[in-house]
Amino acid sequence: MTRMNLICAAALAALAAPLVAAEHRVDAGEGAQERLQEALILAEPGDEIVLGAGRFALTDGLSLAVDGVTVRGAGPQLTVLDFTAQQGSGEGLLVTSDNVTLRDFALENPKGDGIKSKGADMIVYHRIRVTWTGGPKAENGAYGIYPVESTGVLVSHSEVSGASDAGIYVGQSRLITVRNSVATDNVAGIEIENSRDAVVTQNYVTRNTGGILVFDLPDLPVMGGGNVLVTNNLVAGNNTPNFAPPGNIVAGVPRGTGIMVMANENVWIEGNVVQDNPTAPFMVIAYTQKFEDARYNPFPREVVIADNVTDLGATDPDLPGGAMLLAAFGGTLPPILWDGLQQDPDTPALRAAGDVPGWSLNLTRQGQSLGEAQPGPLAVPTFGQPWDMAGIGAPAELEARIR
């Protein structure tokens, strides 16, 4: 190699160096709590923390606050962070720094949330598994994968089961993709809340109380959820009795809900397979509670239920007067359920494919009791061209990180 080539090579190496500045290996076994936490603290931006295969017995929550760190395990079945004996902290792992990549490991039985990333922009969850091993129980933690107040979130090839609130929950965030993931045996499988520009695609969502939820709630720092695509998911057999502790908003989700939208704008639902969700394959409603927040719009606006594959509809609704409703509709409730509420006639709550039947509760004001429902057939406009979807979903840079 000539001297010039050497200099070039050195320069290239210097350019490439920040990608993995150093690798820190941590194995399971004695002192794993301290060794792993120290590695998370002492890592420098660009470093990679490599977790060996095995079961890490942990007694306290872990936290990462260094930008640009990758935490990589040997695989979601092989590297297990076991929080069964956890004594403190509100989550298994807390991430508060930007540009973090979490991949190829599992958390089991965290006492609160699984992995929470707060104000952690440009984060990747890839091949992460969070499991409450006892199945659905009210004592399980709330959220499995829980990014909040972040811009740039990619959740891919991950799996959560047993969460007493939502398996994969993205809140108060922007530029989000949740994809190729599995959510089973949670109250809510996947929930996008008070967030914008989100794509939920190619997920398998089964045995939850409700499959995929898109919500906007009042009294939060970040509000105004919208621009959400829910496409090409398999949402089937979500019929687990609601096991959320009362008081949580998801405690009100009826058992047997497929895809549910509450108080959100521009939600496009297309290409999903929605089967065996016996309360409602699709549900679109206004926020039901009283609120005083002047910034809040409780109505759904421009929700589109385009072409999906669905069954005849609901056969065992978890709704007041369910048996009477079934009888009135001839034994099966049509696939789309709308509460009948919208902001104004110029801003339709819902548009749908003309050939998919639905029904409306025909409520007339926000917060009205279901007892005042006047059920009848659904009559909503059909949809037109999709809006411009460029710029929705996780930034390409996050996709590139897991290639």
Partner: protein, 336 residues
């Protein structure tokens, strides 16, 4: 022996005697400003480390309403380098010059049985504040840097045997941060006594008594208080608001428990939980006026269960006095 050598020995002896007479030794400013010292003694904050006797330039202080830490006795100190001073910065924090430190030692047991458990230091460096935890050794001769934190079995003053948690370096940041930047929590002007502040001004260590100083009530006065609300609000401000405020660790909850917040729903009144999970305990509102037993705030303060208990870190036991005050405050609210 040559005369020069004799002189040299005499000089050395003189210097040695001066060194002992000149005690206490000054704080090691280099340790405050660089690196991660492995032991507490390296800083030289104390003339007598075991007795926690401050050296020159290190001032002890106390808070009107302190933060609950399992009943630990807490010894608090600030250090301001020679030639600099603290600045009054409104009713918020005192402004600390670079090179300052805040030191807090946690101890359990009384008199000769007092055991020092951990000392946390906050170091104000050119690039911001750094929080480090130090764990005391069994012989009580020094404390060693404990980046990953640790656990210590001990018995609290209330007689509870607990596994006391020393926070790791990141957990320090969980509470000591706003908008992603590490900040001090304790020495807010509103929670410092006017006497102490005036003393600091007289000593030239603070430029002026800040406005809004000394406005939080003294916690010790709560049992004879005519009105409970100021005590409850002070308690929530000191124990909860470092996370529950805009930019704080729990900002996503929308709950804002700062002293200066007056919007009822922001304080939790008739506010529904968002991400409380099973922490809601089956209740519908953070605070249901008149009904402490149906208020999530009280439910979480009275839990010891990880995932339910508030605060999430920093305590292993329930603060009975604190919850009693918050309970009474909610009970006295007019029902809605």
């Amino acid at each position: 022996m040559r005369q020069g050598a004799v002189l040299g020995i005499a000089l050395a002896a003189l210097l040695a005697s001066m060194a002992t007479a000149r005690s206490p030794a000054p704080v090691n400013d280099a340790a405050v400003q660089e690196g991660m010292p492995r032991t507490l003694s390296e800083y030289g904050f104390f003339a007598d480390l075991r007795a926690q006797t401050a050296t020159y330039g290190v001032e002890e202080y106390s808070l009107n309403t302190p933060l609950w830490s399992d009943g630990a006795e807490k010894l608090r100190f600030v250090y301001v380098p020679k030639g600099t001073q603290l600045a009054a910065g409104g009713d918020g924090l005192l402004q600390f010059p670079v090179g300052s430190a805040i030191i807090k030692t946690f101890a359990f047991g009384e008199g000769p049985d007092r055991r020092l458990i951990e000392t946390r230091v906050l170091l104000h460096r050119a690039d911001g504040w750094l929080a480090l935890p130090y764990r005391w050794n069994a012989g009580q001769t020094d404390a060693a840097l404990a980046l990953a934190g640790g656990r210590v079995d001990l018995t609290t003053p209330a007689g509870e045997a607990i596994s006391y948690r020393i926070p790791n370096k990141n957990q320090c940041k969980d509470c000591h941060s706003k908008d992603g930047v590490v900040i001090p929590l304790g020495p807010k002007a509103r929670n410092l006594s006017r006497d102490w502040l005036e003393g600091m001004v007289a000593a030239g260590r603070l430029d002026a008594v800040p406005s809004g100083a000394d406005s939080l009530p003294r916690w010790t006065g709560r049992s004879s208080a005519a009105e409970i609300a100021p005590y409850a609000r002070a308690y929530l401000d000191v124990n909860c608001a470092h996370c529950h405020q805009p930019g704080g660790g729990a900002s996503n909850s929308g709950l804002d428990l700062r002293w200066e917040q007056h919007e009822p729903v922001a304080l939790g009144v008739m506010k529904r939980p968002v991400a409380a999970g099973r922490g809601a305990g089956g209740h519908l509102f953070d605070i249901l006026p008149g009904k402490p037993d149906q208020s999530i705030l009280v439910y979480r303060m009275e839990s010891k269960e990880p995932g339910v208990v508030m605060p999430e870190i920093g305590t292993s036991t329930i603060d009975r006095d604190g919850t009693a005050v918050v309970r009474q405050w909610i009970a006295e609210m007019e029902a809605q």
